[in-house]
């Protein structure tokens, strides 16, 4: 089929053609960027924390009337209370493993600092930013971390200290990401590091494959896999415990927690948020991301529907307007399929033209978003997929009016309009 008569016909409808093309261009630009944002969010949400997230929950509680001082006597009293809790939790029937801990990945509380190869380095000048987890020898087992080099802590390695005490542990386990950053040759185990500008060294005794930092905010994105585990029970007037249960017993154990802990010591605060499954912690951390992705998805769908409706509307109008001409073509020997193809090809040209403008708009919009928000550059294939989507959408939308056009009988040609 020659394109020439088609272009000549389109010239008669400049306004309509420009409007459809413009709508397609804008749709392409927005849908591409929206899908890119959705994908980035989903990717963020789906990255594994390094934990075995099933059958795991976290308890946060605060004692009433516990010592609040930093003197050794207060600290030892607090440590005794903490050990009492841990022992009671470990004695529960369906509990597999328990550790005191300051936070877990995706939880809104974190303890961040820097690790350096030199002693006394300034806090901010450390060689690598890191987040600290404090727990005992059961931490690895409770969280389900994978040790890939060195050894785990033993009970003898574990010490305790006051919450505000700045002394650092002698032994640490770090993530592979952090170990490779400090010792790029992969021989970090056995080497020394200095934590938070300390003057005394700490020895790396093990490496874990993966352990995410607690914060999912953008400020933590530069060190999201740099975690350090210290064999320390932190003593304060509040405490946290991570608990791993036997498979399938999570809910049952969680329900028994308040009575068990109140049984140990009734002078404490446990509220609705005190006992939280890891599943809930994950859901809360990413709720905004998932909400945003869902909203973007819905708007994209409505947008595509609106654009399709616009194409149906205008093409229907054109078909109605050219009723007689179609009849003439049919009378002169054009087959139904020729008429169908004519409108399909016409739409392809308009959509193609619009999509070309749309590609430029999509890239421009991406640049604009990059300058205003923390966002990456959009890979080319998003634009290509977007292009395919709008062209296919155009073809689907044009099919109904085009088929109506192809059903115009040749006899129309003989009638006077």
């Amino acid at each position: 089929m020659s394109l020439h008569p088609m272009i000549a016909a389109l010239r008669k409808h400049k306004a309509g053609v420009v409007l459809i093309a413009l709508q397609i261009a804008l749709t392409l630009a927005i849908v591409c960027n929206a899908i890119f944002i959705i994908y980035a969010r989903i990717q963020n949400v789906q990255r594994p924390t390094g934990l075995d997230e099933n059958n795991l929950f976290l308890i946060t509680q605060q004692w009433v009337g516990a010592p609040s001082g930093d003197d050794p006597a207060s600290i030892q009293k607090l440590d005794a209370m903490l050990k009492e809790d841990i022992n009671a939790l470990r004695a529960m029937p369906d509990v597999e493993s328990v550790t005191p801990i300051n936070s877990v990945p995706l939880f809104q509380s974190s303890w961040n600092g820097a690790m350096s190869l030199k002693p006394g380095a300034e806090l901010r000048a450390g060689n690598a930013r890191t987040t600290y987890y404090f727990g005992d020898e059961s931490l690895m087992k409770t969280l389900g971390l994978h040790l890939i080099a060195g050894r785990n802590f033993t009970a003898a390695d574990v010490t305790n200290k006051g919450f505000r005490d700045p002394t650092e542990a002698n032994l640490v386990i770090v993530t592979k990401a952090l170990a490779d950053k400090l010792y790029p040759h992969g021989d970090a185990v056995g080497k020394v590091v200095y934590l938070d500008g300390a003057s005394t060294p700490s020895t790396i005794i093990g490496e874990v494959e993966r352990l995410q930092v607690p914060s999912v905010s953008s400020w933590a994105s530069s060190f999201v896999w740099n975690s350090t585990i210290e064999p320390v029970r932190l003593n304060a007037n509040f405490s946290r415990y991570a608990v791993r249960t036997k498979p399938g017993r999570l809910d049952a154990v969680m329900r028994q927690i308040p009575s068990t802990l109140y049984g140990v010591n009734p002078m404490r605060v446990l509220d609705d948020d005190s006992v939280k499954s890891f599943k809930d912690i994950r859901a809360e951390a990413y709720r905004a991301d998932i909400g945003m992705a869902a909203l973007m998805g819905v708007i994209c769908l409505i947008l595509l529907a609106v654009t399709a409706a616009g194409i149906v509307g205008l093409t229907s109008f054109w078909v109605g307007q050219r009723h007689r001409q179609i009849g003439v073509r049919r009378a002169l020997g054009a087959r139904k399929i020729d008429i169908l193809h004519y409108f399909q090809l016409e739409n392809l040209m308009i959509a193609g033209g619009g999509a070309l403008v749309g590609i430029a708009l999509a890239v421009g919009l991406n640049r604009l978003l990059m300058s205003k928000f923390e966002m990456d550059s959009m890979p080319v294939y998003y634009v290509l997929v977007g292009l395919a989507v709008v062209v296919v959408l155009g073809q689907i939308a044009v099919f109904v009016p085009a088929r109506r056009a192809s059903n115009v009988p040749p006899v129309v040609a003989t009638r006077s309009a």
Binding site: L26, A34, Q62, L123, D271, G310, Q321
Partner: protein, 433 residues
Amino acid sequence: MLGYYFDLALRSFKRNKVLTALMVITLALGIGASMTTLTLLRLLSGDPLPQKSAQLFYVQLDPYPKDHPFSRSGKLPWLTSYTDAMNLLHAHRAEHQAAMAMTKVKLAPTTTQQHPFFSTGVMATADFFNMFDAPFHYGSGWSAADDQGRAKVVVIADDLNDQLFGGANSVGRSLRINDQDFRIIGVLRHWAPQPRFYSLYLGGPSYGKGEAVFLPLQSARAAGMDPINLMSYAVGDKQELENSASIWLGLWVQLPHAQAVSAYRSFLAGYAQQQVALGRFQRSRYGLSGLMQWLDSQQVVPDNVRLQTGLAFSFLLICMVNTVGLLLAKCLRRSGEIGVRRAMGASRKAIFAQFMAEAGLIGLVGGALGLVFALFGLWCIRQQPAEYASVAHLNETMFLCIFAVAMVASLVAGIFPAWRACIVAPAPQLKST
């Protein structure tokens, strides 16, 4: 004449029910989406203290070492160290001045069988209530002497008063905070500025319900309460926050007029230089930002909300382009009718007016439906767990704004089709029919 145009428009709608419905729904979706997000954006970026915000200023200094700056991009530290905050407060160079921090508190009801619970508290110096116009229902705030004397007094929010004392005058009664007794000296009326400008970087929520308790800074510190947020600019002991190299306080001053502002600016410049001379600071930078300027520069509105607003307005734009196309199709289909009207003596102006009236009618109906969509959208936002969810309500301004935007959008969309309609030449139309 307008009545006649509306009559014609209604007839035309009846003839093309599907196309008309499509236009109205498209426009309404665009209006609904854009107005929902705009309402939220306006609420979130609104003025928290409209009567006072022009006089309130946030103070920043830079105690960080030159080679380990607070931020690589040159931002000033968000908070102030205790030493600097106290030096500036005691200089009394502003009409009012207050330093504050947020803390997590454990509240234990003394009378009822309720369980203890956690909440957020503000620890502040005496000028806090006067400076921020916090209204008292009963009693009053504390004095600078109470603060210095570490008096165990507390001002509580109306919510907490309702919860613990059934809304009665609780001044003089005692409240157990973190296992210590504090005497209630004041109960606030409902007070929760949105966004909560003073809590920025102090660790409290930016929106939603206000804090439960307000304590004198020294008293709270003496009772062992720690700030939620703390950043250190040098290695050292953090057990004594007052003497440590840490920033943890927000410092606000009230400066009633431009003269006072420039005077305070030069005072701050002098202070920073003096600290450099003393060797405490390495840089004499300082910041004095008006309340709204401070909120703007810190982008307190969540990125997601700004992104959604942009998306919704692009959506409205596409809906408008769509409406232009559909209106154009309708207009051109009625060329015959236009030809007859022109031949009967209607001027081009009259044809233009007729089609604009039709577009306006679509805008009105689209706006009404858009209002329903916007109310639904805001309802959806209120169901979300975000801290700003509770403030998502439509006010009168936004109500009118919906119709204004709908009318403007539909009239702008109608201009081109109406223009095309009014330049239809009557003669060929009459000939062919």
